[in-house]
């Protein structure tokens, strides 16, 4: 096991340096930006390779960058915070997703825990995860069928969902 090489260097070695970009934050944390086309292979490599052995996918987070102050490569992004328990090391992947093509490869065949976070991201932002075993909506009730409330262009107060109930009064109950 080579302790000197970072995950970014390992990935660059395996898949080619031109594919990746690295954003560093304070405290030694880095986010590795991965192109969508090779996401599944990269995660498979991180999971299987003993130098990385990332056992845990912590969460899947969708981001809508509409109206963001700086220019971004595309409107949406997905962030995959992952944890290697054996190396005690965190890996954060970020994938830019264009509004025109919201299809993203599903990670459920690598991490079973990706099932619900992917369903949540799909429901809240409208991503479509390719190869997901159960691509149903997860959290919201039927009033939100086909709506994606965490998108920036969705009104905060909703589109009348919270007012659309029958009124129970003393006479009818």
């Amino acid at each position: 096991m080579n302790h000197k090489k970072s995950t970014f260097e390992l990935l660059s070695e395996k898949f080619g340096k031109e594919n990746f970009d690295e954003v560093a934050y304070a405290g030694g944390m880095t986010t590795i930006i991965v192109p969508k086309s090779i996401l599944a292979e990269v995660v498979r490599f991180l999971h299987d390779d003993p130098r990385c052995s990332v056992e845990q996918l912590t969460d899947i987070i969708g981001i809508d960058y509409q109206g963001y102050a700086q220019e971004t490569p595309s409107r949406f992004a997905l962030v995959y915070p992952m944890l290697s328990l054996s190396h005690n090391k965190r890996v954060i992947l970020k994938v830019w997703v264009a509004e025109e093509d919201m299809t993203v490869p599903s990670l459920t065949d690598i991490y079973r825990g990706a099932n619900w976070p992917e369903r949540e991201a799909a429901e809240m932002f409208g991503f479509s995860f390719e190869g997901h075993p159960n691509p149903k909506r997860l959290l919201l009730c039927d009033l939100f069928e086909g709506k994606h409330p965490l998108r920036k262009d969705y009104p905060l107060q909703g589109q009348g969902e919270r007012e659309s109930f029958r009124i129970v009064d003393r006479e009818t109950s």
């Binding site: 919201l140 905060l156 107060q157 919270r162």
Partner: protein, 198 residues
């Protein structure tokens, strides 16, 4: 008529059956803690030994609508939860009362979003409001006492929903105030007001 009976039989008090049932009902109001958020914690506190709503005969919590008189909605109600709450209310047997506890339940509170109902009184007949975030247990007990007074009259026709509001009390009697100056610190970082008990 009852006076004549009392005169003939010493030690007997005459009354109507409704009054007797109402009196019994007054001291056996069974609440259902429909606790969806942090107000439920405050309700638990009022059920514990320091405040002890068992003194008012209301300690028997039931989690089925069939056995309850008082629907105590404590916490925010989301659009997913509201049909459940309505069904719960319909399944309760008469006489029944609804208490809307806390800011979120009464008005949506700070959660002015697509997923939270802005006050359950839009869709349910609410009899008693307990404003506060959360209301203190004293307020819950005061509200319960108001419901108890109505329990006496449950057989008669009382206009519903009642819409009683129990305001929060911020004044503490002198003999209950903590000693020293500690308690007069500003209550919140941004608010800066001085309130009893911080």
């Amino acid at each position: 008529m009852s006076k004549g009976l009392e005169k003939q039989l010493p030690g007997v008090i005459g009354s109507t059956l409704d009054t007797v049932i109402g009196w019994c009902r007054q001291y056996s109001i069974w609440p259902v803690p429909y606790a969806t958020a942090c107000c439920g914690i405050e309700f638990m506190a009022s059920a514990c030994s320091r405040f002890d709503i068992a003194r008012f005969g209301a300690e028997a919590m039931r989690f089925t609508p069939r056995q309850c008189d008082l629907l105590l909605v404590a916490g925010r109600v989301t659009v997913k939860m509201l049909p459940v709450l309505q069904r719960f209310y319909i399944q309760m047997a008469e006489p029944k009362w609804v208490v809307s506890m806390g800011a979120c339940c009464s008005s949506g509170g700070e959660f002015d979003t697509y997923a939270v109902v802005q006050g359950i009184d839009q869709f349910l007949p609410v009899d008693l409001y307990l404003p506060g975030c959360p209301p203190r247990p004293e307020q819950i007990i005061e509200g319960l006492m108001k419901i108890q007074k109505l329990g006496m009259k449950a057989g008669t026709s009382v206009a519903r929903p009642l819409g009683i509001v129990v305001p929060p009390r911020t004044e503490v009697p002198d003999d209950l105030k903590p000693q020293g100056d500690d308690w007069q610190k500003p209550c919140h970082m941004s608010c800066g007001k001085t309130l009893p008990y911080g």
